[in-house]
């Protein structure tokens, strides 16, 4: 046996066919290989399911987080609109806002003093908001503030122009009750909420800001329908424009095309408690319909309550009126701007409805008067 033979024998031994002991475990090996090959899609499916779960969890987290973050802003408005609005309107510092020397009328038109951030809701219930106001001169309850039917919104100072001197909580209660009632045979709110209250109303320029500063000189009917030039019943809403003539001597009609408030530094007489210190721009959209019958004012229960203008809240009887240019004009201007920038036009309609009681005797303005708000 040569070395080559030995080598050949060794090579032959190495290259011999597979021994049975070397093929043990064939089934397990083949199964694992088949599983590896056919199970290639399984990991992708698992990843897809995981991805879907991750996406779902992420979306849910974002949704819940977003709702939780927006909850304090949204939920009170939706669920508890009235109660959320009240604390804002009783801020004491807003009293000084009522006497801005010159308020830009267009800004005032779109402003909502009650709640700047509050969107306009159809069918604003004015009664609830007024119930919290001790010196509420007049209430125009439940004016549907449908943006489509409310017409052009009244200017901002409509809520501030209720310079009626209705002193006493009893009168306010009556007015609130009249506003909140849904009975057909109830006294009309304009009648109940007549601003003079038997007190001598100091004559003042009806639409001018100083006149509005005068608590006895309500100048506007600011109900949504009243803002309409016609002043008649709104066929779409069924509401009528209500004007509460406080003083027939208020001949000053609003200037069409935008009220220029020229606030004279007039102070209300001592006999009339100043409830409103804000200047009232002219209300051209106020259809002075003195002969219009009392309006049945629906009070939608779900509608957010109309809020009083902020200046009226702290304006207790006896509080001196802050004339234009005095007091805190800067704050007043700032607040006016703030409100003007934040309030939608539809909500103004409710305010106009509120102030309509105090300004019954306004002359119906022209169609374009103070209705320049888009």
């Amino acid at each position: 046996v040569t070395g080559r033979d030995r080598t050949d024998a060794l090579v032959e031994a190495l290259r011999q066919p597979a021994l049975p002991t070397e093929l043990v475990g064939e089934a397990a090996a083949i199964a694992s290989m088949v599983g590896t090959l056919t199970g290639a899609a399984a990991p992708r499916g698992v990843r897809s399911r995981k991805g879907a779960a991750i996406v779902a969890i992420t979306a849910a987290s974002l949704g819940v987080g977003g709702l939780a973050a927006a909850g304090p802003e949204i939920f009170p408005r939706v669920l508890d609109f009235g109660r959320a609005a009240l604390p804002e309107q009783v801020q004491p510092d807003i009293a000084s806002e009522s006497a801005p020397p010159a308020v830009s009328p267009p800004d005032a038109v779109i402003s909502n003093p009650s709640n700047p951030a509050m969107p306009a809701a159809p069918g604003v219930v004015a009664g609830r908001a007024h119930a919290a106001q001790p010196a509420d001169p007049g209430v125009s309850p439940a004016v549907p503030a449908d943006p489509e039917t409310a017409g052009p919104p009244a200017h901002e100072d409509d809520d501030l122009t209720t310079a009626t001197s209705c002193v006493g909580d009893a009168h306010d209660d009556v007015v609130v009750a009249a506003a909140q009632t849904t009975e057909e045979d109830a006294d009309p709110v304009p009648e109940v909420a007549r601003p003079d209250c038997g007190n001598a109303v100091t004559a003042g320029p009806p639409d001018s800001t100083p006149g509005n500063d005068d608590p006895g000189a309500p100048t506007e009917a600011v109900r949504p329908s009243a803002v309409q030039p016609v002043g008649g019943p709104d066929p779409s809403t069924g509401t009528k424009s209500v004007t509460t003539p406080i003083e027939p001597q208020q001949p000053q009609s609003p200037e069409p095309g935008g009220p220029e408030t020229t606030p004279p530094a007039s102070t209300p007489p001592a006999s009339t408690p100043p409830t409103s210190t804000s200047p009232v721009p002219p209300t051209p959209g106020n259809p002075s319909a003195p002969a219009s019958p009392p309006v049945t004012l629906p009070t939608p229960p779900a509608s957010p309550p109309m809020t009083l203008p902020a200046p009226l809240a702290p304006a207790a009887p006896g509080v001196p009126v802050v004339p234009a240019g005095s007091g805190a004009p800067d704050r007043a201007a700032n607040s006016t701007e703030r409100r003007a920038s934040a309030r939608p036009a539809a909500s103004v309609a409710t305010e106009s409805g509120w102030s309509a009681v105090a300004s019954e005797d306004l002359v119906e303005p022209g169609p374009g008067a103070r209705l320049s708000t888009p």
Binding site: G3, L14, Q16
Partner: protein
């Protein structure tokens, strides 16, 4: 040629997950893998072979080639897995010694032909394990895996000439070892230049 085409078909079917094709591939190459690992002194050749086959299964859908290509690919994977196993196993030397000790107690060839074959294989592998690693690697890849010099060189990371030298020296050393262990015969004659060197 027929075997090559048949193997291509088997590989193609195995790539689709055909169990029979996979079994055929496995039966054709499993023993070679085991011998390769055993010749390299790996302690658990079965586990390593299983790892190699799993990697083959993962790569089959993207594999394309004939029988030689598949064998080259298979032993390339085997060599890498072996190296990985050596790097992981810090006790390789100790285990190798254990394997060598167990090899001494391997069953002696008996009357049974299978036992004779198994004994011859064990002895051959034992002799190969006595070679230097590079020579053993080259001999195993050239003889057991039946790879070409180029493929062996590619797997080992050497040049073709280096592989030829390694194979030649390894076979000559094997002949010397076998001559020394042989009871009789011409054991001093070096093996001639064989076909594995060329």
């Amino acid at each position: 040629m027929t075997d090559t085409r048949a193997m291509q078909d088997v590989i193609a079917r195995a790539a689709t997950g055909d169990a029979q094709a996979l079994a055929e591939l496995w039966r054709a190459h499993q023993h070679l893998l085991l011998r390769y690992f055993r010749g390299k002194g790996m302690s658990e050749p079965d586990d390593l072979a299983s790892t190699v086959w799993l990697e083959v299964a993962r790569g089959l859908p993207t594999f394309s080639g004939d029988r030689d290509d598949f064998r080259r690919w298979l032993f390339t994977i085997a060599a890498r897995r072996r190296i990985d196993e050596i790097r992981r196993d810090r006790r390789r030397r100790q285990l190798d010694e254990t394997v060598l000790a167990n090899a001494d107690r391997s069953p002696t060839p008996g009357a049974d032909d299978e036992l004779d074959r198994a004994g011859a294989l064990d002895r051959a592998l034992e002799v190969i394990r006595t070679l230097p690693p590079d020579q053993a690697e080259a001999v195993l890849l050239r003889v057991v895996a039946d790879l070409s010099v180029a493929d062996t060189a590619a797997i080992m990371g050497h040049s073709d000439g280096n592989v030829r030298v390694l194979v030649h020296r390894g076979l000559r050393r094997l002949a010397l070892e076998l001559a020394e262990s042989a009871p009789s015969g011409d054991v001093t004659k070096a093996p001639e230049r064989s076909m594995y060197v060329s």
